[in-house]
């Protein structure tokens, strides 16, 4: 009997389209999750298909697997109640025992089969053209299946099956998986927050958290060869959950009986209204039925669209299934915004500012879109699935009215979803004690950015439904389309948003300072573009819409023959608008803003190098003084400048040609040299390179005044580049606006992998050796100047301020514009930025040993939260660093905020610049969370100190500009919090180092030869090594070496020094007993391990 029940169950599941659709989905999910997890670990040079990736993918299970498990486990026994077959089947010869176990095994078999498809996706990934694939580890796969996949499948399925059996409700299985997911998310969230409590780890029934805990500190090589030991937390987790599963299953078996189920079925039937209950004596009517007036005008049809949409909206939102689905999504959302938030250097959480809260929508967008697709498909085929079509299709209502009412109803659902997200976002903000809700940002992100995307997917699903006329095929095609579209986007196979349905530029790029910037317009164009296409597709769907008995697409087309004029108009209008918008987007993004694919970008770098590499060591005059008049027009994203550069030939040979390069999107209007005529020899617009012949060669030691006038302008919008140099608010303009002279090695292709492909020699190192005769005479910051002095006259629009290095000598308003005059306080290096934004300003002074220093804070007026703490941290840093490195070199310290377009922190001259998510919105209500502000201010200020040293642009210079400041910041933290409390920081530091190693494109440089592309070595490893040395040898020795080096590097050299000098001083200060440590740390690629004590 068991075998009869089992085989019937299996055969019946095989016949369901659902099984095959989920088989496909599981397969796609396997590939998608491999990609996703591979991305997560890609930061550590781990193979894209390394065992760690496979283990986490197996443990992560995936949302589709959760749903499938609930569907199969939940329905296995309870479907007899649903289909009212219980009284038929329970009265056969089948016994309860066989029935229970036959059904259990039958559905389990199907679930295993579906999991096999998931495995197939995982395996196939190793054979796809994915970069950085390692060998497919069959042993890892086998172990993963045994330790992770099978126990997980057993536990989840058994819970669903048993709970559904005990409650006699298939729906309760959804609650089971919901809780399983919540336990998992909870464990992962706590893990991410640095809380590794055994209960939260063991509480995750998927063991995902256990794996995360084991994986976090593995080196890339270890990750590539990872094989979990079946002991400790993993063993306990598996034993506990499997044991609970077995117990629940036994209880369910004991409680299961036909009688119980039948009794339940009867109770359910009783809920049906009784005919007798409504019975009244027959009424015989003499009169005929009352007559009604009817209208079939187009106007009345449109009215019907409205009222039907409302009815459909209600029918979608009423079922429990919909509500469960929605609640699951919303719980995810709340978990994300409540628990998963950005943390930067330390454990200090971020304030739940609205941009952060709404940013979560992007992370969950896949699920929201799935929700929209599935509900749209269900609604479009609701008449079919409910059987109402036999009535509805014979009603005098054009199909377009029915379809449009459903489209509008789904639009209502999309709006409802967004409204829920907004309400929940605000609720979470309130619970966290944050009340600056910024409804405008909610409106913009949820309703303007995301709702149109849901709508185009509603229309696409309608199109697919129109073509296929099949509920399951529609679900399948639409979901697979979504998955493929997202995967291709993430894999960078489709780089241009205009080629990927629904995509628009600027997702996740909302900033408080600059709002959506250029992406507001961009998004509008892209959405109009996709909406136009969707409407054209809708016209086709309406044309071939299935009515009555199902017919093939061809039969429907043949029957309709020609498009109704209105549909034709909609189709042609949609297509015309699609083409016009596409053209506008193409002209704006590809032509006007010169979009380049990654491949094209690499090709340009290669071309540049091939064409101009010969100029690398050709002498060019160096800048000594800059007088710059700069007019910024942020509202137009434009600028004009006039600059007078004092140049000097510091080489040993004469210079007869100036090689001038200019920044992208800028133009040089005029170029003249005092006392020497310049003749344009060649202008290479594509490579932005010109050659000018000097009338008289510039002899060694001679000077030249070069006057340049130029402008720069951004227009329109881009594919994804926020063009942060010139924005509406928060421009961050590099000094590159001043023409570059010579060959710019920063434009070279640095990745050896690609250099080889394009026929360029591999780079042995990304910086010249310290013995390089040319480079050793250039300062680290730039090839075109050593120390310079400068005068800046900068103007900007009336409501913005300028932040620039030097002394702000004067500020005034003229012709409705703000003007600022800066002069250099000390000769600086040629590498800084000019900022323009609507700033709030806070100023304070600090007296350091008789010197009064001014601290100015320029921050976004919406981010006043930590202004006082920034000031206090800057004061502390000042006092602390002066005690080690001597007086702070400038009169004034400026700390400025910029939009969060990247994570880079800058320190130059007396200015430090931090993106808006670094410190400005940190939640520092707890005193200990202040550490991040202290750390970054100390680090950036120390960088300012170290940039006073004349070090050459050769290997190892970042030891001075990055490692030493990093070390000093750690030292300051230890000073405030004690060494013990630094543990978390050092662990995070170490993680960042490991991640950096992983993303290293060439070869990890040793510390003493570190270059400016390997911050993970200079900032993370270097800082720690110095800190460790200070612990071992004494901080005063290390500090002494630093101060001694700085003193010497600032004052003595005819020629810049290099990191070697510092290394020698350090060795001397530390003494011979630490030589071995230093040698290993500085001269080898040893992977450091933080001292955990």
């Amino acid at each position: 009997m068991f075998s009869a029940i089992f085989s019937f169950e299996v055969r019946q599941q095989f016949r369901k389209p659902f099984t095959w659709i989920f088989l496909l989905l599981m397969f796609a999910q396997g590939i998608y999750y491999m990609r996703h997890s591979g991305e997560f670990f890609s930061a550590d040079q781990t193979y894209a298909n390394a065992p760690v990736v496979m283990y986490t993918v197996l443990a992560g299970i995936g949302y589709i697997s959760f749903i499938v498990t609930a569907l199969l486990g939940g329905a296995s026994l309870t479907k007899d109640l649903e289909y009212r077959t219980s009284s038929l089947l329970y009265t056969t010869r089948a016994d309860q025992f066989s029935f229970f176990w036959g059904r259990y095994a039958g559905s389990a078999f199907i679930l295993l089969l579906l999991n096999l498809a998931y495995l197939a996706g995982i395996v196939l990934y190793s054979f796809l053209p994915v970069p950085n694939l390692g060998p497919l580890s069959l042993s890892a796969l086998a172990k993963g299946i045994l330790l992770i996949l099978l126990p997980n499948t057993f536990v989840l399925y058994t819970f669903c099956f048993a709970v559904a059996s005990l409650t006699r409700s298939g729906k309760s299985a959804y609650l089971v998986v919901l809780f399983a997911m919540l336990f998992m998310i909870f464990g992962v969230s706590l893990h991410d927050m640095g809380i590794h409590h055994p209960l939260s780890i063991l509480g995750d029934p998927t063991a995902f958290t256990v794996l995360l805990t084991q994986l976090e500190h593995l080196s890339p090589a270890e990750k590539n060869a990872y094989s979990p030991d079946f002991k400790g937390l993993l063993l306990y987790n598996r034993i506990i959950w499997v044991a609970i599963g077995v117990i629940v299953l036994i209880i369910a078996r004991i409680k299961y009986s036909f009688k119980n189920f039948i009794a339940h079925a009867e109770r359910k039937t009783k809920k049906k209204l009784d005919d007798a209950a409504s019975y009244t004596a027959p009424v015989f009517h003499e009169q005929a039925l009352r007559s009604t007036t009817r209208s079939f005008s187009t106007g009345s049809h449109w009215k019907k669209v409205g009222s039907l949409a409302w009815l459909e909206f209600k029918t979608v939102t009423r079922p429990t299934g919909f509500r469960i689905f929605l609640v699951i999504l919303l719980i995810f959302y709340v978990c994300y915004i409540a628990l998963w938030q950005q943390q930067y250097y330390s454990a200090a959480p971020t304030l739940p500012v609205t941009v952060e809260v709404t940013g979560v929508t992007l992370a969950l967008s896949f699920y929201f879109l799935m929700f929209i697709i599935i509900n749209t498909g269900e609604l479009l085929f609701k008449n079919q699935s409910s059987g109402f079509w036999t009535i509805a299709d014979a009603l005098p209502l054009p199909s377009w009215v029915t379809v449009l009412s459903k489209v509008f109803a789904m639009t209502g659902i999309a709006l409802l979803l967004s409204a829920f997200l907004m309400v929940l976002g605000i609720t979470v903000q309130s619970v966290k004690g944050y009340y600056n809700f910024q409804p405008g940002i909610y409106l913009n992100e949820l309703f303007i950015r995301w709702t149109p995307k849901y709508i185009v997917y509603i229309l696409l699903t309608t199109f697919i439904a129109g073509i296929t006329a099949s509920r399951y095929t529609t679900h399948g095609i639409a979901v697979i389309f979504l998955v493929i579209s997202i995967v291709l986007h993430e894999l960078d196979v489709i780089e241009q948003n205009r080629f990927n349905f629904m995509f628009s530029p600027g997702s996740g790029m909302n900033t408080d300072m600059n709002g959506n910037g250029i992406f507001t317009t961009a998004h509008a164009w892209y959405m109009l573009y996709w909406l136009s296409l969707s409407l054209a597709l809708l016209a086709i769907a309406l044309w071939v819409w299935q009515r009555g008995i199902p017919k093939s697409l061809f039969a429907r087309m043949r029957k309709q023959q020609k498009l109704h004029p209105v549909l034709l108009l909609l189709f042609l209008g949609g297509m015309t608008s699609f083409v016009l918008c596409g053209n506008k987007i193409y002209r704006t993004v590809n032509i006007q803003n010169r979009f380049e694919t990654n491949e094209e970008e690499r090709m340009s770098s290669v071309l540049y190098e091939k064409k101009y590499k010969w100029l690398e060591n050709a002498p060019q005059p160096l800048i000594q003084h800059i007088a710059l008049d700069l007019d910024l027009y942020p509202e137009k994203r434009a600028l004009e400048y006039r600059t007078v550069l004092s140049l000097k030939n510091q080489s040993e040979s004469g210079i007869d040609t100036l090689h001038i390069e200019w920044m992208d999107f800028s133009e040089i209007h005029s170029l003249s040299a005092s006392g020497s005529k310049l003749t344009l020899l060649n202008k290479d617009g594509e490579m932005r390179h010109s050659q000018y012949l000097l009338e008289q060669p510039l002899q060694p030691g001679d000077s030249l005044i070069l006057s340049v006038e130029g402008s720069m302008k951004y227009e329109g919008f881009t594919n994804d580049d926020p063009q942060k140099e010139l924005t509406f608010n928060g421009s961050f303009l590099p000094l590159d606006i001043i023409p570059f002279m010579g060959y710019d090695e920063r434009r070279e292709l640095k990745e050896n992998r690609y250099r080889e492909i394009y026929g360029l020699p591999k780079l042995a190192a990304r910086l010249p050796d310290t013995t390089d005769p040319f480079a050793s005479r250039r300062l680290f910051a730039s090839a075109q100047a050593n120390r310079i002095s400068y005068t800046f006259n900068i103007s900007t629009q009336a409501d913005q301020r300028i932040v620039a290095p030097g002394i702000l000598q004067k500020e005034w308003t003229e012709n409705g514009r703000n003007h600022f005059r800066f002069v250099s306080e000390l000769p600086g290096v040629f590498d800084f930025h000019i900022l323009s934004a609507r700033y709030a300003v806070k100023e304070a002074t600090v007296n350091t040993g008789g010197n009064v220093k001014k601290i100015s804070l320029y921050y976004h007026p919406g981010h006043p939260y930590n202004a006082e703490h920034f000031m206090a941290s800057a004061k502390e840093a000042l006092l602390f660093l002066e005690s080690i490195l001597g007086p702070y070199p400038y009169q004034q310290v400026c700390i400025a905020e910029r939009p969060r377009y990247d994570e880079d922190l800058f320190a130059y001259e007396n200015v430090m610049v931090l993106p808006e998510n670094h410190g400005w919105i940190a939640d520092i209500r707890r005193q200990e969370d202040l550490d991040y502000l202290r750390y970054i201010t100390a680090k950036l200020m120390a960088e300012q100190y170290m940039r006073r040293s004349d070090i050459s642009r050769t290997q190892g210079y970042p030891v001075i500009t990055k490692s030493i400041p990093g070390y000093l910041a750690l030292l300051q933290l230890a000073h405030f919090y004690g060494e013990a409390s630094l543990k978390d920081h050092l662990i995070k530091n170490h993680e960042d180092y490991l991640k950096g190693r992983g993303s290293e494109k060439n070869e990890e440089p040793v510390l003493i030869k570190v270059d400016d592309e390997a911050d993970y070595v200079s900032e993370k490893k270097g800082a720690y090594i110095l800190y460790r040395l200070a612990q071992m040898a004494g901080a005063e020795k290390v500090n002494g070496a630093i101060a001694g080096f700085l003193e010497e590097a600032m004052h003595s050299p005819q020629q810049p020094v290099n990191a070697g000098l510092f290394y020698e001083k350090l060795k001397a200060a530390a003494g011979d007993e630490h030589n071995a440590f230093l040698q290993s740390a500085f001269e080898t690629r040893s992977v450091y391990q933080p001292d955990k004590k």
Binding site: H285, T293, K303, K314, T315, R318, S386, F388, D393, A394
Partner: protein, 296 residues
């Protein structure tokens, strides 16, 4: 206004010929369509109700070409399919108002009044705010009847309408239908012969997709006058009689089997003459489809 069906044929992709060259003219009043399960009744009904296209043939309703102008037919159509579903989480009142609106009753007051009236007529008024998912089979069927009658249809097609109704409700429905049938074309598809004989003034029998008989029930009934004979027999003898005589039906009466035989002469003195009923005629048509005339 007449419904004229000409040379209608339909073959399904699996090769089954659902309709073969059917021609019919149906005027006002109740028209009964008799046939066994799978005879093609529902296909014919669905085709008239614009839900299905024939391969060949034409249907005209007055000036309307049903196959080319389905939208026009739907405006005057009331259709109760054999199988239908409802939105389970919507109340009868809500759903019926929704259908009324789709049928063009756009004036809210009129719509509510019409819906209420029909709910009363089908005896669902008291439960009008209950979700349709909670309705029993009979109640759902009555709901189906109500929706078919909404909007004063000129052509009513009811496919097995009394399935699931108790005898009282069945009567009630037929009263309602005959009331309406005076000024309307009502096509009643059923396999219950009695329904047709009591209600319809015209009828047709179809079998295997072909029109087997077409005419007035009384004429069809009387066409067998003087040719029917019945006899009480032992159950075990049935086979023998079937081999020897044209046995068109057999039924039990008080536990004994009675056979009906078609013959121009009394087969044997043990047979008694039988007054023909429509049921006999129907059985005869079904038993001898090849001999059947197209028109009575």
């Amino acid at each position: 206004m007449k419904l004229e069906i000409k040379k209608l044929s339909k073959t399904y992709p699996n090769g089954k010929q659902a309709l073969q060259d059917i021609s019919l003219t149906i005027g006002k009043g109740m028209f009964g369509l008799l046939g066994q399960n799978g005879a093609g009744k529902s296909t014919l009904m669905r085709t008239i109700a614009t839900l299905q296209d024939p391969d060949t043939g034409s249907i005209r309703l007055g000036d309307i070409d049903v196959l080319q102008q389905p939208g026009e037919v739907r405006k005057i159509l009331g259709y109760l399919p054999q199988d239908f579903g409802v939105y389970s989480n919507v109340s009868a009142f809500e759903m019926l108002s929704h259908i009324a609106e789709m049928k063009g009753i756009v004036q809210a007051g009129q719509r509510t009044a019409a819906v209420k009236e029909l709910l009363e007529r089908v005896n669902l008024y008291d439960v009008r705010y209950k979700k349709l998912g909670t309705y029993s089979g009979g109640m759902q069927q009555r709901f189906g009847i109500a929706q078919a009658l909404l909007g004063n249809p000129k052509l009513i097609i009811v496919d097995e309408p009394t399935a699931g109704l108790d005898p009282l409700e069945r009567n009630r429905f037929y009263n309602l239908l005959s009331e309406i049938g005076e000024n309307t074309i009502v096509i009643l598809s059923t396999h219950i012969v009695e329904d047709v004989s009591t209600l319809c003034n015209d009828m047709a029998v179809i079998g295997n997709g072909r029109l087997l008989k077409y005419g007035k029930p009384s004429e069809i009934e009387q066409s067998l006058k003087g040719q029917l004979w019945e006899k009480q027999i032992a159950k075990t003898d049935l086979k023998k009689y079937q081999e020897q005589l044209n046995v068109i039906a057999s039924h039990f009466k008080a536990g004994r089997m009675i056979i009906t035989v078609l013959d121009e002469n009394r087969p044997h003195e043990t047979f008694t003459a039988k007054e023909p009923t429509l049921e006999d005629a129907y059985f005869e048509i079904i038993a001898n489809p090849s001999l059947t005339l197209q028109n009575a």
